[in-house]
């Protein structure tokens, strides 16, 4: 479904990604783990069209979407839940969701709104509250719901558990499970490696902009060198 080949991205002088490749198949939950600064966020940003790409190609559903504008990539069926959630703080929950469904028709949007209200009961309770007043966990759910509003074929999440209390982290992973159960395709960047590997079908380990390991979640969990790789021994 998604096929990233030899992606290299630079921020000015900083080489954030070096020749990174990955694939995501339909219906898969793929984890992307690694220490902060490893280039995980950059990878997602590059796929989503937010960051300029220096070399490499990105194909989605057989189409080349390399260096497309974010709005085009979204229309191709890829949706990103950005790091730090980046909800629109002075807009209400409903408005945030509507924006998520900006590419959908009015009727479809109304349907999706109902669907989200059902899937995320927390949001239903705060429907008309400005999103800025929500707690971290609620905001994260909103961010995910907002991304789902575009009916993406593939949803990418960047650090969904970031800054959340442990109980909320559980919630996020339950959510990922729920989405998987619905048959959705998900690519998740996560620093909570263990949890991620348990939740994922497959995972890639990124370090210093390079993919250093890949395999199924279970395989990687068993890798004895993982901790070292992970924290840079």
């Amino acid at each position: 479904m998604l096929e990233v080949t030899g992606l290299t991205t630079k921020y000015g002088a900083i080489s954030a990604l070096r020749d990174a490749s990955l694939t995501v198949g339909a219906g898969e939950v793929v984890g992307l783990i690694g220490p902060n600064g490893a280039g995980k966020t950059t990878l997602l940003g590059s796929i989503a069209g937010l960051l300029p790409i220096d070399s490499g190609t990105i194909r989605f559903d057989g189409n080349d979407i390399t260096s497309g504008a974010p709005e085009k990539i979204l229309r191709a069926g890829l949706s990103l839940v950005p790091e730090h959630r980046r909800i629109f703080a002075d807009m209400t929950v409903e408005e945030n969701l509507k924006i998520g469904g900006v590419t959908r028709s009015g009727a479809e949007r109304a349907e999706l709104l109902d669907e989200m209200a059902e899937l995320f009961p927390v949001l239903r309770d705060k429907w008309d509250t400005p999103a800025g007043y929500m707690s971290g966990g609620e905001a994260q759910q909103l961010a995910i719901a907002r991304a789902l509003m575009s009916k993406p074929k593939l949803i990418m999440m960047d650090e969904p558990s970031l800054g959340l209390a442990p109980i909320l982290v559980d919630l996020v992973f339950e959510l990922i499970d729920t989405l998987r159960a619905q048959g959705r395709t998900i690519l998740v960047v996560e620093q909570n490696a263990t949890r991620m590997l348990r939740a994922a079908d497959r995972a890639y380990v990124l370090r210093s902009g390079e993919v250093v390991a890949t395999g199924t979640g279970a395989e990687l969990l068993d890798r004895s060198d993982l901790f070292d790789t992970f924290v840079g021994g």
Partner: protein, 619 residues
């Protein structure tokens, strides 16, 4: 005052002189070819415009704050000059009831210019304080609007105070004996302004202002107080603009409010922007180019004028090129340059610095390695009970740490653990809800960024913040300049040695923004070291580096710190790097210190492992 006499004084003097000769010589050639009075007048006008544009460049170029107000200062100076310089007989014609007994006053033109400068400076100080209060920094809109307000207010007052100014249509016309005969005075002032502008740009104050222009936050972290430097640049630029404006009034022989208003402000700005606002050479080039372009446009608008056999009388495009084409030229130049080259023709290229690099530097040898300092005064950094809450969210709860000089202390934690908040607190960017921090018992809580770094706590930034347009060497020099003033009790290291030490010797003359990532990081380190800090606070110094680069970085951080005798507080998410570099480590999670100890102790700590691999890590 000047870090390097040859580079910062010698060559600017030579360069300014050549530049001066080029502008004046070009004018003379044009004048000789045409040999008529209007060519002569055009050249005189150009020379005076050059003085004013150079004056404006000192402010806009060095601070990055867009000012429309300098022509407002020019208006003040022009009027003060006029009311003092013109003869009482002339004043009786236009302003017979001038206040303050000015109708009967007359002083020599030279003295009148001096009075104009002094009076204008008073206004400049007031406006400067206003700008500082409004938090002016490079590109700030509020500051620009304040300068615009000055332009409008001076214009309004000039129009509405006819007793003093002759009003908008009457104006003050004057014979001060005779009008400005000959160009000797203009030439002297022009050369002086070029020289002053260049010397200022190379001086300590100019350097610090430019640093703040490039990156206000980083400059403050290097102990620079941008507001002081901006004020210095403002006053200096106002002096030159005042003298230039007085000469302009003297040359035209009359003054009216509209002569120092929007159109002239735009003209001078376009000149500056077309040439390159960050460069004196650019300002001069812009004056020449725009004067030429406008004169060409003016001529093209006239019947019977031809250039290279091309006239517009019969041309099919006649309808495009009518009279007053030069105001169209002005607008097009403005939009065109903004779209295609907003930094102007020369950007910040300076003729004298090019000369210096080309001919003046000679061969330089890389200095030998520096010995590590062992007799530095011991210092202690201590933070205790630091808590920060944003609204209901507790970003930090009762966090504390200590560090000694000579020690490397690591702070680590996963994303969102409170590291950034902690850094923000001890760099003066966030006021803690509770708690305090100090160096050697001196409480620093609540100090401004530049005060903290002057007190010995110097930081680097997670997202590189170098002074991109400056060379590698200049980046380090700026820190050294501040250290020389504020860190006198410490051993100050030579800039070149620090560059060599950081492995940047061969790159010393490249612009900082051209460096690759590793070198940029090393430059930031060298720059911090040049501040002769008691403690260096390194914020994620290896983010974006490969493993091997990180390893090298460990060596460099340790060595660089030892070279200036500083303690190191390093914040990173990379446990590998932190354990490699640190003597002791604090681990933050969920806003709290969850572990403290040697690398081995910390790595063995189950809570740390859990924090890193996830809450359910159990292996």
């Amino acid at each position: 005052m000047f870090p390097n006499l040859k580079r910062d004084v010698g060559f600017p003097v030579i360069g300014s002189f050549v530049l001066f000769l080029a502008l004046f010589g070009g004018g003379l050639i044009y004048q000789t070819i045409l040999s008529n009075g209007s060519a002569e007048r055009l050249v005189t006008t150009m020379l005076i415009d050059a003085i004013i544009v150079i004056g404006i460049q000192i402010y806009i170029g060095n601070t990055g704050i867009l000012s429309f107000g300098h022509i407002g200062f020019g208006a003040i100076a022009g009027y003060v000059f006029a009311v003092y310089a013109i003869s009482p007989e002339e004043k009786l014609k236009r302003i017979p009831t001038a206040p303050f007994g000015l109708t009967d006053t007359q002083v020599s033109p030279g003295l009148a210019i001096l009075i104009a400068v002094v009076v204008t400076l008073v206004f400049a100080v007031i406006v400067g304080i206003g700008l500082a209060r409004s938090g002016a920094q490079s590109g700030s809109v509020a500051a620009t609007v304040i300068t615009l307000a000055l332009l409008f207010v001076t214009h309004e007052v000039a129009k509405s105070w006819p007793e003093l100014t002759g009003g908008n249509r009457g104006g003050i016309s004057f014979a001060i004996g005779e009008s400005l005969e000959g160009r000797a005075l203009i030439l002297v002032v022009l050369f002086a302004s070029m020289l002053i502008a260049r010397l200022y740009g190379q001086s300590r104050s100019g350097r610090l202002a430019i640093a703040a222009r490039e990156d206000s936050l980083a400059a403050r972290a290097m102990g620079v107080n941008p507001l002081v430097q901006q004020m210095a640049a403002l006053l200096l630029s106002v002096v030159i603009v005042s003298v230039g404006s007085s000469l302009r009034v003297w040359q035209i022989g009359s003054i009216l409010p509209d002569r120092f208003f929007f159109d002239y402000a735009m003209l001078t700005l376009v000149m500056l922007i077309v040439g390159g606002r960050n460069s004196v050479t650019g300002a001069v080039l812009g004056v020449a180019v725009m004067t030429g372009a406008r004169e060409l446009a003016r001529r093209l608008g006239q019947d019977g004028f031809e250039v290279f056999g091309l006239g517009l009388d019969e041309a099919p495009l006649d309808w495009v090129f009518r009279e007053n084409l030069n105001s169209v030229v002005l607008g097009l130049a403005m939009v065109g340059f903004m779209i295609w080259r907003p930094t102007g023709i020369l950007e910040d290229w300076e003729f004298d610095q090019w000369l210096y690099r080309r001919f003046g530097r000679g061969t330089q040898t890389e200095p030998g390695r520096l010995a590590e300092l062992d007799d530095v005064p011991a210092a202690t950094f201590e933070a205790s009970g630091v808590s920060v809450a944003f609204g209901g969210f507790k970003a930090l709860t009762n966090a504390g740490m200590t560090a000694e000089s000579g020690e490397v202390v690591g702070i680590i934690g996963p994303n969102g653990a409170g590291k950034t908040t902690f850094v923000n607190v001890i760099t003066g960017m966030v006021e803690p809800t509770d708690g305090a921090f100090s160096i050697d018992g001196v409480d620093l809580t609540g100090s401004a960024s530049h005060e903290l770094s002057r007190s010995g706590l110097v930081r680097t930034f997670q997202n590189l913040r170098l002074f991109g347009a400056l060379t590698v060497r200049e980046n380090v020099e700026i820190a050294a300049l501040v250290a020389k003033e504020h860190r006198t009790e410490r051993t100050l290291r030579d800039v070149d040695s620090l560059l060599a030490e950081a492995g940047l010797w061969e790159h010393r003359d490249r612009r900082a923004r051209e460096l690759d990532y590793g070198n940029s990081r090393r430059l930031e380190l060298a720059r911090a070291a040049a501040m002769a800090p008691s403690f260096m606070l390194l914020d994620e110094p290896t983010s974006g580096m490969s493993d091997s680069e990180s390893l090298t970085m460990i060596e460099q951080v340790r060595h660089m710190a030892a070279t200036v005798g500083a303690g190191v507080i390093v914040i990173d998410h990379d446990l590998g790097f932190i354990t490699g570099i640190s003597d002791r480590i604090y681990v933050l999670d969920q806003g709290q210190v969850i572990a403290e100890g040697t690398p081995d102790e910390v790595q063995a700590n189950a809570r740390v492992q859990a924090a890193y691999l996830g809450s359910a890590a159990d292996r």
